[in-house]
């Protein structure tokens, strides 16, 4: 081969003068800071909503007093007041339940959407929630709840939540399976489980039917101090793992081949995300029933503000998901005649909100 003749043409000038590069770096830092600011603002809103939520009810407590009671509870001091017992015994478990449900489902939904590259992905559309509510129904129908108390239902819900997750995992292991196929498979699994749930509900007596019904719509009234630690551990550890996996999800956004050349075991990361999401969703749904839309709407809204960098998206979706759930819980408390299950409220608020966002979106997302 001939020696290369490098002087044949004048080269394009390729200067990388320092000033421009520095300004680009500082513009980017500012750009990132704005995104972090969004997370902080949502977190502040969350704190305010939480205070208002706990204060609401037949026995009203002022915002300031709510946080006084919570502070006392944290430092282990009981002032013996009625406020204190109302806050800590009655209302705090429900608030904490709402927070855990919100951040857990939103983190799961956000990671699922990024991985499947589909804004429709969440624990609900992938069938995990329906599996859980079927498991709960079957446990009630066959009286598992009699022997084991609430935990029988919870265990039933958890086991059946893992079935759709396993289906998706098997599909993911198939090389030719596209993300769209996984969602469609999830939706078909969802239909099957919903039909089975309805069938078993027909065979039940009235009281069991009412219990099973609560599982299909989602409610926070079942959250107690006893089951909070387990819920928190599942959702908290799960969310932390998803946050750790965020940088891999970012790289996988560039396509499997590209991610592979960066040294990422794409298939392994996908399976890890699916397992974590399934456990988080199953863990939450087993205690509260199907609470729809939080997992889909919260990440979707956050994407509009902070973009799709999962390292920011997942924490912001967690904060927003929690805020939306706490807000929905407040709305459900407003109906005085009968307390409306939160699952109905999240769908009633989330549905129109999502529709609005989808119609507003100028460019095609899917």
């Amino acid at each position: 081969m001939k020696k290369l003749n490098l002087s044949r043409f004048k080269s394009t000038s390729l200067d990388t003068s320092g000033a421009d590069v520095n300004s680009l770096v500082s513009v980017y830092q500012h750009f990132r800071f704005r995104k972090i600011l969004f997370v902080i603002i949502v977190a502040v809103i969350l704190v305010i909503l939480s205070g208002l939520n706990v204060g609401m009810g037949a026995y009203e407590i002022s915002f300031q007093r709510v946080y006084e009671c919570i502070w006392n509870w944290i430092i282990g001091y009981d002032d013996g007041s009625v406020d204190m017992s109302v806050v800590t015994i009655q209302r705090l478990p429900r608030l904490l339940g709402a927070l855990i449900v919100g951040f857990g489902l939103a983190a799961a939904g956000g990671a699922m959407q990024s991985m499947l590259k589909n804004p429709l992905a969440d624990p609900y559309t992938t069938g995990i929630s329906s599996g859980a509510s079927f498991g709960a129904t079957i446990a009630i129908a066959f009286g598992a709840s009699v022997g084991l108390g609430t935990y029988g239902t919870v265990i039933g819900a958890f086991i059946f939540a893992l079935i759709p997750a396993a289906v998706i995992l098997m599909l993911a292991a198939m090389k030719k399976c596209s993300p769209a196929m996984m969602i469609l498979a999830g939706i078909s699994v969802m239909y099957i489980f919903n039909a089975l749930t309805q069938y078993f509900m027909l065979t039940m007596d009235e009281q069991d039917m009412a219990t099973a019904y609560q599982w299909t719509v989602g409610t926070l009234t079942k959250v107690t101090w006893e089951n909070l630690p387990l819920m928190f551990i599942i959702a908290g550890v799960g969310a932390a793992l998803l946050f750790y996996l965020a940088k891999f999800l970012n790289a996988m956004n560039g396509g499997d081949a590209f991610a592979k050349t960066l040294g990422i075991d794409v298939q392994k990361i996908r399976v890890m995300v699916l397992v974590v999401v399934s456990i988080v969703a199953a863990g939450i749904v087993s205690f509260t029933g199907v609470i729809g839309f939080i997992g889909m709407v919260a990440p979707h809204i956050c994407r509009m503000f902070v973009g799709s960098d999962n390292r920011i998206l997942i924490p912001s979706a967690m904060a927003l998901g929690a805020a939306l759930t706490v807000f929905s819980d407040m709305v459900s408390k407003i109906f005085i005649t009968a307390e409306v299950p939160i699952g109905i409220v999240t769908s009633l608020i989330g549905g129109p909100l999502f529709l609005f966002l989808v119609l507003r979106e100028s460019k095609e997302v899917w």
Partner: protein, 286 residues
């Protein structure tokens, strides 16, 4: 870095058709190397055997004397980067964040500020600093290509592999991207391997042309040595006239009678399909 491909064979799993039948190639000088060949000839497969996206059935690929099978993806990412053909932009990040992904293989080794500087330098180098904070999904195909090249360079590679970087681009962008790659190869003294389709863009900018045909390297050398009417006929089965333009070969493709047989074949196929459909429709009626 030196890349050696020795007697490389490749057969797709579950098929008996051997795509590569003993490729031998040595790349030991930096520069822009264009790989040419007709569709389905195994250009991509050959190049993907270098960055391990495909695994050779037999034969070996050595980088600086080391077999690629002994180099992990993680290690390879530190000296070899890959610019894919195109990229799905659903849920994509901003340009700066996308380019910063190029620092992924070095996480924990360099601090965030250094990473940002390197990314910013490459964004500046490709002249896309105005787009840096925009979403990748808001950009045109040509801008996508530039972002992906900037990301590839942010890995600070010794070898950059680009899969058809000029497909989907209009002629001006094709020229801009190829010239840029040539200049980058010279300035940064790196090896840039590009899978290419356009003969004239290749002739204009390539330092070296590798022609792949029949599962082997058919020709290898400077554009003047390789882009001859004979080689082009052998490679693509088309006639051409070669002249000189700006000191480089210029290829004019000719319309000629030999093309008729191919056109006739296609028209014949269409006619045959129509007839079959008619017969089927008739059968259904009965």
């Amino acid at each position: 870095m030196k890349v050696e491909i020795k007697d490389l064979h490749f057969t797709y799993p579950n098929t008996s058709k051997e795509i590569l039948k003993g490729v031998d190639l040595v790349i030991d000088q930096p520069g822009l190397i264009c790989v040419l060949g007709p569709n389905g000839v195994g250009k991509s497969t050959m190049v993907y055997c270098i960055n391990k996206l495909q695994k050779a059935t037999s034969g070996e690929v050595l980088i600086d004397g080391r077999n690629v099978n002994d180099i992990s993806f993680k290690e390879m990412a530190k000296f070899l980067s890959f610019v894919p053909h195109n990229e799905d932009d659903t849920f994509s990040m901003s340009v700066m964040e996308t380019v910063l992904l190029g620092r992924f293989p070095f996480r924990g080794e360099t601090d965030a500020k250094t990473d940002m500087r390197i990314a910013a330098e490459n964004i500046k180098l490709l002249g896309i600093e105005d787009l840096a904070m925009q979403g990748f999904d808001n950009l045109s195909a040509g801008q996508h290509q530039k972002v992906m090249i900037a990301r590839g360079l942010t890995q600070e590679p010794q070898i950059l592999i680009c899969d058809e970087p000029t497909a989907n681009l209009d002629v001006r962008y094709q020229m801009i991207v190829m010239r840029l790659l040539r200049d980058l190869a010279r300035i940064k003294k790196i090896t840039i391997i590009v899978i290419c389709h356009d003969l004239n863009v290749t002739a204009q900018y390539a330092d070296r042309v590798v022609m792949v045909y029949g599962g082997k390297v058919m020709a290898d050398g400077t554009p003047e040595e390789t882009l001859t009417a004979d080689n082009i006929r052998a490679l693509f089965n088309v006639e051409s006239e070669i002249s000189e333009l700006q000191g480089r070969p210029h290829i004019a493709l000719l319309d000629y009678d030999g093309l008729d047989s191919h056109v006739d074949e296609i028209l014949g196929n269409i006619q045959k399909m129509k007839e079959e459909a008619a017969v089927e429709a008739e059968a259904k009626k009965e």
